[in-house]
Structure formats: C-alpha cells, structure tokens
C-alpha cells in the first residue's frame, strides 16, 4: 500500500530524483515510516498532509539536515548520501523555506555565491566576477530589478525568495524544494512567485511544493503526494483526482488511540472573550468557555491560535476587545496578572517555554506558587516539596526524586511537570497548547485522561491542537481559526474530520 501510485497517463514518466523506503524516528515518535517519493523534471509535485504528517521531516532529510534511519535516496538513478546541508546543495537540491534562511547583512551577490564564490589568482574572493555572475543569474530569472549590491535586509520577502532561487540557479540545481513559500507573501507577490515557478519548470527543474492551500496547489502543481501520520497514503497526477478525494486521503485514518469517554457536564460561562484583536496577528475573536468544558481550537499552523492564547495569558498585547472571567472584566497585561486571575497556559514549546531545564522538579512545580509556599518572604523547602509531591503524584510522574533536573526527563514527563505546576496554582481556566505534541503514546493517553478528570472537577480547558483525532476525541466544541479569524464554531456532534479540514482551509460551502 505504501508504494507510490504510478500515474496512468504521465506527462513525463522519467523521474530525476527518488526517495524510497525512507523511515525516520525520534524518541517516542515515528516521524516517517517507509515513504517513497519521486520528482520529475519540469513538473511541480505538491506534498500534502496535515500538521505532523511528516512533511517537515522529509524536507529536512532532503536538505541533509536529518539522516534517515532507513531507505535510499537517488539522483538520476545514482544512490546518494546527504550527510550535510552543504552536500545536498552541491548535489543540486536547493530549498526555499517559509522564512528565508539567508544572510540579512550580506549583499544579494554574496548571498547567491556564499560557499562557492569565484576566486581570483591569489585565492581571494573575486567580488567583481561574483556580482557579475549574480547579475546574469538574476537577469535570466527576469529579476533585473534586484541590485546585486543591495543588502538583503532591504529586500521584501518575495525578493528574498527570488534571491534564494537565484542561489539555487547559480549552481544549476536540479531540484527545488519550496516549504510553504507563500505563507508570508501578499497576493501580488504570490503572483510573482507563480511566474517564477513557471520559469523554473521551463528550465526543467523538478519542484517539490509544500502547501496547505488547495487553491495554490491546483494553480501550480502537476502531481500530488499525500502523507498521513508519517506514511505515504496516495500519489498521482492532480488532474486525475478531486479536492474531496485528497481531503479524504489526508484525514481518513484508523482509530489508533482510544480517548477517554466522559459525560460532559457543562455549566455556566466562565471565560467570555469578545472582539479581541491584535494589530497584525488576529482580529474579532469572540467565544465563550463554559465550566467543565473542553473547547478545542483547530486550524492550520499560522492561523493565529497560539497568538490568541498568548494574548489571553498576557504575553502579547491586544489592540482591542474584552475579556471577562466569571462575569468580571479583566485587563491582562502580564502573565502574572493572568495567573492571579486564574488563567494559566501550558505552552507549545515545552523545552523553551514550559520547563526551566537546569532547575530540579520541585522548583519547577513551585515556581509560580512561591507566594504560598513561602512565609514572610522566606522560602520553606518542605512546603515546596509537599506541593510538588501532591501534584506530580496526581499526574503519575515517573522520576527517581523530586530533586532531579527536569532536563533528564522525557518529553511526556516534562509536560506533566508543566501541567502540575499550573494545577498547583488552583486555576479556573487552563489553556493547553498542543498538549501532546512530540510525546509518546503512553504519556499522550495519560494527558488526555487527566484532561477529562480536570473538567469533571469543574475546571475549564482550552485545547489548541492540530491533531484531528485529538480535537474530535476530546473537545466538546471546536473553534476553527483561519488567517487570524474565527472561521466557524462547531458543536462536536457527528462532526466529520472533512468538515474541519475544509473549514480550516476556507473551502467550506
């Protein structure tokens, strides 16, 4: 089943690049299992999949950042090993990322030729030859408006993409990987990018195009490849399929995880948010959260879900709107205020934003509760240990001692500590941002069960998640966000995954 479906009537069947049987695991997570992919010269292949389907891992393998655990990569039929990013680039694989990874303070010419710049007789950089060659490459791409002596910093994102492509062209790359290149572009710039892709196709480059947006995919891609949960589930020519079939491939998954069954006992409104706005990230966000409710937030990465949560927790400042908790209007300008009011946030990036690695478990748990564990400003270690013991035991934390550094724990156990630390503050609303991202199945189930327990006790939970089964399995209602706005709020009754995906992509009729 995991073999690429060969196109019935191919445009060109001669591929120039193949991946076969690629697998890659991270501790606790199988990111890719036995996937295959072929790219064809002069054609655009769209790589489609939900968040966490393994697209980014594949891009990192293609560009030499990760090494696959198994499988073979070959260019023009010759097996290759991409052990470094430099090597992948030399073999003709160039990547354009969502945010360009070029050097802001170097000139356009220097960016294009960094690492393979022309040298003069004594071995010094030949700047004149370099800028001359850069000029030729840019002109060929119809990008004569870009000055090769300009600093990259002064260019817009679309022009930076052009420079990244020019860098690929300067070594005559055969394969161009584009990872959501339109995410930060305006409509006009997207038009220019399409022209550039047409140009690359006419030059015979094979393009792998990663995008969440169906209109884009239909506009420029010839072929599609769909990933789901790290496995290949379908591939072929776009003209032989329909949008609905692709969405089915994306979401149609077997139930591999049982969610705790619970009887929702939903009470009055606890948190009421109305017309919350931010100058650049989101606008007009209104929703109610009830006592004993799990409210799911679904959407594509970059839809603005985490940004809204940051505003509720006082990390980001808002430009307007009202928040009230149990009928009392709140003004939240710092996390400390949110915590005092009873709103706590378990962030997405556990290692960077969640746990304080370097401090032992008990200090992590007690950190936001030091007011309560200390007496007239003197810490009482015994109280801290008691607090940490009470809450980590509730979460079934596996650790040898509470004095152990949290850095030595697995992701699942670190997540339990972050949750424990917030429970210790007796919150009213707990916001969980991608609570089970990157943690093993066992810890996942524990976190889900615990969420069910919390709402049963009358806590209210907001769960931001990009995993469809998790959202559908846990939430009572689901808010779908798209491009910084609420697209739709669903009751989670007989809701199909297709509906959610369509709402998130903005194609729900």
């Amino acid at each position: 089943m995991n073999k690429p479906v060969q196109p019935s009537s191919a445009v060109t069947t001669e591929h120039c690049f193949t991946l076969s049987g690629i697998s890659k695991s991270f501790p606790g997570v199988k990111a890719l299992s036995d996937v295959s992919l072929a790219l064809y010269p002069g054609q655009v292949t769209a790589l489609i999949g939900e968040n966490g389907a393994g697209k980014s891992t594949l891009v990192k393998i293609l560009t030499g950042i990760y090494q696959p655990d198994a499988g073979e990569i070959s260019v023009n039929g010759t097996p290759v090993v991409l052990s470094t990013a430099q090597e992948a680039f030399k073999l003709g694989i160039a990547a354009i990322h969502q945010e360009t990874v070029l050097f802001d303070d170097l000139t356009v010419g220097e960016n294009i030729y960094l690492g393979h710049a022309p040298r003069n007789k004594v071995g010094l950089l030949d700047l004149k030859a370099m800028h001359g060659a850069a000029r030729v490459v840019l002109d060929k791409m119809h990008a004569s408006h870009i000055d090769t002596y300009a600093r990259l910093r002064d260019l817009g994102i679309a022009n930076k993409h052009l420079v990244a492509v020019a860098r690929a062209m300067s070594i005559d790359s055969k394969i161009v990987v584009m990872d959501e290149p339109t995410a930060a572009l305006s409509a006009k710039e997207i038009g220019e990018l399409y022209e550039l892709i047409e140009f690359l196709k006419s030059e015979g480059k094979a393009i792998l195009f990663i995008s969440h947006k169906f209109d884009e995919i239909y506009r420029i891609a010839d072929r599609y490849t769909v990933f789901r949960d790290g496995a290949l589930v379908g591939a072929g020519l776009l003209r032989d399929t329909t949008q609905n079939e692709i969405i089915k491939l994306m979401v149609g998954r077997p139930v591999d995880h049982i969610f705790p069954s619970r009887k929702a006992n939903i009470g009055m409104s606890v948190l009421s948010v109305s017309e919350l706005s931010h100058p650049t990230e989101f606008e007009d966000i209104s929703f109610e959260l009830h006592k004993g409710e799990i409210l799911g937030f679904y959407g594509l990465v970059g839809a603005g879900r985490s940004e809204v949560m940051h505003a509720l927790f006082g990390i980001t400042k808002t430009s307007g709107g009202k928040i009230s908790l149990e009928g009392v209007p709140l003004k939240i300008t710092s996390p400390a205020e949110a915590i005092n009011a009873g709103i706590v946030y378990v962030p997405e990036e556990r290692g960077r934003q969640g746990v304080v690695i370097g401090l032992p478990i008990f200090m992590n748990v007690s950190l936001p509760s030091l007011d309560r564990t200390s007496k007239s400003n003197v810490l009482r270690l015994k109280e801290e240990f008691d607090l940490a013991r009470t809450y980590t035991e509730r979460l079934d934390l596996r650790a040898s001692s509470l004095s152990q550094d949290v850095g030595t724990l697995s992701g699942g156990n670190q997540q339990k500590i972050v949750i424990a630390k917030w429970l210790a503050t007796s919150p009213k609303v707990i916001i969980l941002d991608e609570p089970t991202k990157g943690i093993d199945i066992g810890s996942k189930a524990a976190v889900h069960e615990f969420m069910a327990e919390l709402v049963a006790e009358g806590l209210s939970v907001i769960m931001v998640s990009s995993e469809l089964p998790e959202v559908l399995g846990m939430a009572d209602r689901i808010v779908v966000m798209r491009s910084g706005k609420i697209e739709e709020i669903f009751e989670n009754k007989n809701l199909s995954p297709e509906t959610l995906v369509k709402a998130a992509a903005g194609i729900l009729q």
Partner: protein, 325 residues
C-alpha cells in the same frame, strides 16, 4: 544539580588548600591563623563586590560599572567626612550604600525600561560614574589627614578578635546565601538565568528581576566604596581603576556561569579567596607580582574549562528504566 555545585566548590577548596600548603613549604609562617585571617581581611572587599556581581551575572547580565560606582561613592563619603567630620560613621555607611544603590538602579532601569544590553549600559555608566567623580572632586584627592580618625579606624576595630571589615564580609555572605537560596526573589534570579523564556511564561517579570539584581550590585559597590577608601585612606579618581575585571574574575573562578543561572555564594567566596591568596602569597615566596596576572589568567581559563565540562548536557534519558532508576 546540588551535587555538581558541591563538587565544584570542593574542587576549588582543594586547589586553595594545596596552594596554601605549597606556599607554606617555602614560607612556614604563611599558614598561621593570624596570616590567614589577615588574607581574609584583605580579600573582604573583593568578596563583597563579587557577591554583588554574581547576582547580576546569574540573570545573564554583567555589571562593568561596579568599580566606578565604588570610586564615586567612596569620593562622596570621603568629601562628606572631610567637610563635616561630625557626621556619625554609621550615617556615612548608610549614605554610601544609598548612593551606590541609586547608581545601580540607574543601570537596572536602563536595562529594564530602555532595553539596552547590560554590557553596553554598564560600559557607558562606568565612564560616566568615574567622570562624575572627577566633577564632584574637581580632580582633587582626599587624603588621610582630611579624614576623621573614626572614619579611618572603624573597620579596624576588633570584635571578638575579628576586624569589622571581615565581619562585614561575613555578614554579607550570610545575607546573600539566605537571599539567593531562600527567598522567592532569589529563586527568580536563578530561573531567569537558566531559562528566561520559560520564566516569563511562569509569570516572572524578567526585567524587574534584573533591575533588583543591579540594585544589589550597586548597593554592595557603595558599601565597598566606604570600606575601600577608609582602608587605603585615599580617595581619588583613580581608585579601583580596572578593578571590575578582578571582580568578574573572582566570579568566573568561583564557578559562576557567565551564561547565567549557575553559581553559588560559596563559589564566589572561594573565587575571591583564590585571587586574594595569590596576591598575598607571591611576594612572600619571592615571585614577581607580574606573575600574579598570568596565574590568575590561567586560573580563569582553567575554571572555565572545568565549568564547561560540568555544564555539558547529559544526553536525554529515553529508556524508561534509566529514568526511574
């Protein structure tokens, strides 16, 4: 984590003991209690300054202006004493600590509210504070003959056989140990240093915590200002010129991570004593004082190598059995 600290401090203590032992072989009187007490007394000011610096370094900042602060506050109290000999000594000490606190608060406010990197702020205020010393003194010195006997002798008074200077250092050490390990604010200082992002997500105000740390270092620099002037009985623009580097060196040798979040009061004290012993011992065993710089320089590099080793991340524990073991 505590274990690593202990090991590191024990290591440093062993090195210091070995040094004392080696020097005693050449100069038997070196290890006498009187001489060691004398060395501690000589190092007291450095210990006080190093503790202030440490609280700043723990928050991933640095205070380059401590020596200039010391010079300025020293000049202020010396001039006050010269013009109004009647002001009681304890008032002068409070004035010194207050002036130092203000200068530290200026650093802290610039870091917190204006968002300038600490190294740039204190590089600027270093020059400003020393320049201001020139302005208020008109470039003149305040000599011993202008200072009141009380001003000069207070720190030399023995209580239970221990000079006030040493007692002050001991008191500051105790207060700091309690402050850093047993108060919520002390805990915040460590949390900000170890993981600033997570600390903010936990509701700790990073800017305010840094501000408090700079106030601490300023206050201690002010206290050291009085102690320094009354010990060396001269106040001038040149006082403690370049001494900020000794303070930072004491911290680094004492195992305080320049990257923030790691360090202990014991480490700072031992780091200071290490430098104190070297400067006292070398003349005794007839080694040119120029070697002193080379030795303390080597000690800094050696300490950093040791710290880098112990700070090196242990691999992630993936196996369940290793985790619960």
């Amino acid at each position: 984590m505590k274990d690593i600290f202990k090991i590191r401090e024990v290591w440093l203590a062993i090195v210091i003991a070995a040094m004392i032992g080696a020097i005693t072989l050449r100069s038997p009187s070196f290890a006498s209690p009187i001489n060691l007490g004398q060395i501690f007394n000589d190092t007291s000011i450095l210990i006080i300054l190093a503790l202030g610096q440490m609280s700043v370094i723990l928050t991933r900042s640095i205070d380059l202006s401590m020596a200039a602060n010391l010079c300025f506050t020293g000049m202020v109290v010396a001039m006050l004493n010269a013009s109004h000999p009647g002001i009681p000594i304890f008032v002068l000490i409070i004035v010194a600590m207050f002036v130092g606190l203000i200068l530290g608060a200026i650093n802290g406010a610039l870091v917190w509210k204006v968002g300038i990197p600490p190294i740039v702020v204190t590089l600027g205020t270093l020059t400003i504070y020393r320049g201001s010393t020139f302005v208020i003194s008109g470039g003149k010195w305040v000599n011993a003959d202008k200072m009141s006997p009380e001003f000069i002798n207070f720190q030399r008074v023995d209580i239970f056989g221990i000079p006030v200077l040493s007692l002050t250092a001991i008191l500051v050490v105790i207060v700091f140990q309690v402050f850093l390990t047993r108060t919520p604010l002390g805990r915040s200082i460590f949390a900000i240093g170890v993981n600033p992002t997570a600390a903010v997500y936990t509701g700790i105000n990073g800017g305010r915590t840094k501000f408090v740390a700079f106030c601490m270092s300023g206050l201690l620099a002010g206290l050291a200002g009085y102690l320094w002037i009354s010990r060396y009985v001269i106040a001038s623009v040149e006082v403690a010129n370049g001494y900020e580097l000794n303070i930072i060196a004491a911290c680094v040798i004492g195992g305080i991570s320049i990257a923030g979040g790691i360090g202990s009061v014991g480490g700072a004290v031992l780091g200071s004593l290490f430098l104190g012993i070297i400067s006292n011992a070398l003349p005794v065993i007839n080694i040119s004082p120029f070697w002193q710089m080379a030795i303390s320089g080597s000690a800094i590099i050696f300490a950093i190598v040791l710290n880098a080793r112990s700070e090196r991340k242990q691999g992630r524990i993936i196996l369940k059995k290793a985790e619960t073991a």
